[in-house]
């Protein structure tokens, strides 16, 4: 178990990066608390797997340092860092039995056989692979194989951190819940530092204490699920988290009013904006209300998704989504109102604070 510090990490896969665009991972500078459960969330190709492999030591970063509990491990091998990692697709040693597969990482580290047996049995119990222990791993289904991969990551109790690289991609939805809650339980029980890479927001939000949102090779926001929902630091976080994502509307800011087309929206704070910046207003569909009061809107489509309705509409000739409860009525001449507390203002895609 360890506190992990990433100091000015940058990584490029090419030999000589010339511009920012050559970096798969732009500057990352951050501390991961000992025993924290972090989810790295972002679209494909945003650099999250690169960052994970840098932490585990499979990749050496082009620039920067990594510290485990204050000790520089940048040039340490994976083994010296004592990291466990679970990959996207199951990796099993198919000539070995399930039992030997799970015992493999321990035996390689010369753990006494009695201890190996105790720990492997614990994992077999946990993953429900009891009946398979003595069989070769070859004939197993994809999710059983992935359970073995997970098990090999969890079997070592002394690791600095456990890294998961989208481990549940190949697992059936139903089994996903079971495994995810097992991982979570283990985390509570043993307090491993866990880093979990995923592009599935539900997975990230349920798994992690802190979600790290990555976009285009950099970390755009680190926060609790609530923070990501209420105060997205970057418009990307707004889009990416939530279903549907945040409404982002280009606005003109004058003092504490935001103008969209002919409509003026009063803000409850004075945003601090540099002149010349591209300004946008962000509001979650959950905080837009539809009624007889407010600004005119033209409804284009209503999607019924069970407990809730998603209304797609055009407001000041811009597309906007509104989330309503299933019982809410849609008036004949609908008008929208924005909850002032839930409005975020963005300048050049980054959220702006209040004028001091």
């Amino acid at each position: 178990m360890a506190r992990i510090n990433l100091e000015h990490i940058r990584h490029a896969y090419g030999a000589k990066p010339k511009s920012e665009a050559d970096y798969a991972l732009r500057e990352v500078h951050h501390e991961w608390n000992d025993g924290g459960a972090y989810a790295l969330l972002g679209p494909s190709g945003c650099g999250k797997t690169t960052l994970l492999n840098i932490i585990s030591g499979l990749i050496n970063p082009s620039e920067g340092r990594i510290l485990f509990d204050g000790r520089d491990v940048t040039h340490f091998s994976t083994q010296e860092r004592n990291i466990a990692q679970v990959f996207q697709f199951p990796v099993i040693y198919d000539t070995m039995t399930v039992y030997d597969n799970l015992a493999f990482p321990l035996r390689n580290r010369h753990v006494p056989e009695a201890e190996v047996d105790r720990r492997v049995k614990e994992i077999i119990e946990m993953t429900g692979l009891g009946g398979w222990a003595k069989k070769t791993a070859r004939g197993l289904t994809a999710d059983q194989k992935q359970k073995i991969s997970l098990g090999r990551g969890l079997v070592r109790s002394d690791v600095s951190a456990i890294l998961f690289d989208e481990p549940l991609t190949v697992i059936d939805p139903e089994m996903k819940w079971v495994l995810r809650s097992q991982i979570k339980r283990l985390h509570k029980q043993f307090g491993f530092t866990m880093v979990y890479v995923t592009h599935d927001q539900t997975e990230a939000l349920t798994f992690a204490d802190k979600v790290v949102v990555m976009y285009d090779g950099q970390i755009v926001q680190i926060g609790t699920p609530a923070e990501l929902f209420e105060r997205p630091r970057h418009t990307f976080v707004g889009y990416f988290i939530g279903s549907p994502g945040m409404n982002v509307l280009p606005v003109k800011i004058a003092g504490n009013t935001a103008a969209i087309g002919n409509e003026n929206i009063a803000l409850n704070f004075l945003p601090k904006i540099k002149s010349g910046a591209k300004t946008e207003l962000g509001i979650r569909p959950e905080f837009v209300s539809l009624g007889r009061e407010g600004m005119p809107v033209a409804i284009t489509k209503v999607e019924d998704i069970g407990r809730r309705k998603i209304v797609r509409a055009r407001f000041a000739d811009l597309p906007i989504s509104i989330v309503l409860d299933e019982d809410d009525e849609i008036p004949a001449e609908p008008r929208v109102a924005f909850d002032a507390k839930a409005i975020n203002i963005y300048a050049d895609s980054w959220r702006v604070g209040e004028e001091a």
């Binding site: 083994q79 697709f89 990796v91 580290r109």
Partner: protein, 288 residues
């Protein structure tokens, strides 16, 4: 509904039947025909039954040649399979080195058998060959024309030079099909170099190794051209393999009956041994 019999469909397979008949069945049956009859020319044949087979099986000549064949194949497999694996493991996996290595590896495979034989025949000659003269000037008493051991060493080195590439290429194909994640997982699990080979690379190469093993066994067991060109079966009979003996018998001595019987026995031995190897190796595969 009344079922109508329509045999016209059989005409569709006729071309294939004709092709197979001319390419395989008829030549084979000719051999069978010769093996059970005796002839003194003039197209007169006499029934000989199993006489030729018994003759062959009772002759020392056959058993000596068969022993040489078995020893030769065993040595070839014992050298080429491990050597091929080692080379394949050390070939680059990416970069400019890959095409260079692949071309270098494929070169010996592109050379016709008798050319390979000629190359080594000249290369090893004591009077003009580079190898032969170099060894002689170093004081090594090497002469494949006179010394049976030297003849064997020359043939084995030649075959290793010619065919190890095949094993290398097959193993390499098996190796590059292993996803990177396996090596990464092995690193995470703290596996040693040997464990990586034993539990990841070897299992993944198993199928191609089976093919490499069978191909190299069959080819080395049927070897003819190269020893014929290099040693001509000598010195004495020391490198007279079944195939060479067969040709001597059939063309040199014109003993068609015994030669036909030997051909069939030879064919059955290869078939039997290949079947045994295949069965043994695939059963152990299934048991894991």
């Amino acid at each position: 509904m009344e079922k109508t019999w329509n045999n016209k469909a059989w005409f569709m397979v006729l071309p294939v039947l004709v092709l197979v008949a001319f390419s395989a069945v008829i030549p084979l049956m000719t051999v069978v025909n010769y093996s059970v009859q005796d002839t003194f020319g003039n197209n007169e044949f006499f029934w000989a039954g199993t006489d030729w087979f018994l003759d062959v099986l009772e002759s020392d000549r056959f058993w000596d040649a068969l022993t040489r064949n078995l020893i030769f194949s065993a040595i070839i497999l014992a050298i080429e399979i491990p050597l091929g694996i080692v080379i394949a493991l050390n070939m680059p996996k990416k970069g400019i080195g890959v095409p260079i290595c692949l071309v270098l590896m494929a070169l010996p495979l592109l050379i016709p058998w008798n050319v390979v034989g000629t190359i080594w025949q000249v290369f090893g000659r004591v009077d003009i060959g580079l190898l032969g003269r170099t060894l002689a000037s170093l004081g090594v008493n090497y002469n494949y024309v006179q010394n049976p051991l030297d003849a064997w060493v020359t043939l084995i080195i030649m075959d290793v030079w010619h065919w190890t590439s095949l094993v290398v290429l097959l193993c390499y194909a098996g190796l590059v099909s292993i996803p990177d994640a396996y090596y990464q997982a092995a690193k995470i699990d703290g596996a040693s170099r040997w464990s990586v080979f034993r539990y990841i690379q070897l299992p993944k190469m198993k199928r191609v190794l089976l093919i490499a093993f069978l191909l190299r066994f069959m080819d080395s067991f049927m070897i003819y051209t190269e020893p014929f060109v290099v040693t001509g079966g000598g010195p004495g009979n020391s490198t007279t393999f079944l195939s060479i003996d067969l040709v001597k018998m059939a063309i040199g001595q014109f003993d068609l009956g015994p030669a036909a019987a030997l051909s069939i026995i030879y064919f059955l031995i290869i078939l039997l041994l290949s079947w045994i190897f295949y069965t043994v190796m695939t059963t152990s595969d299934a048991q894991g």
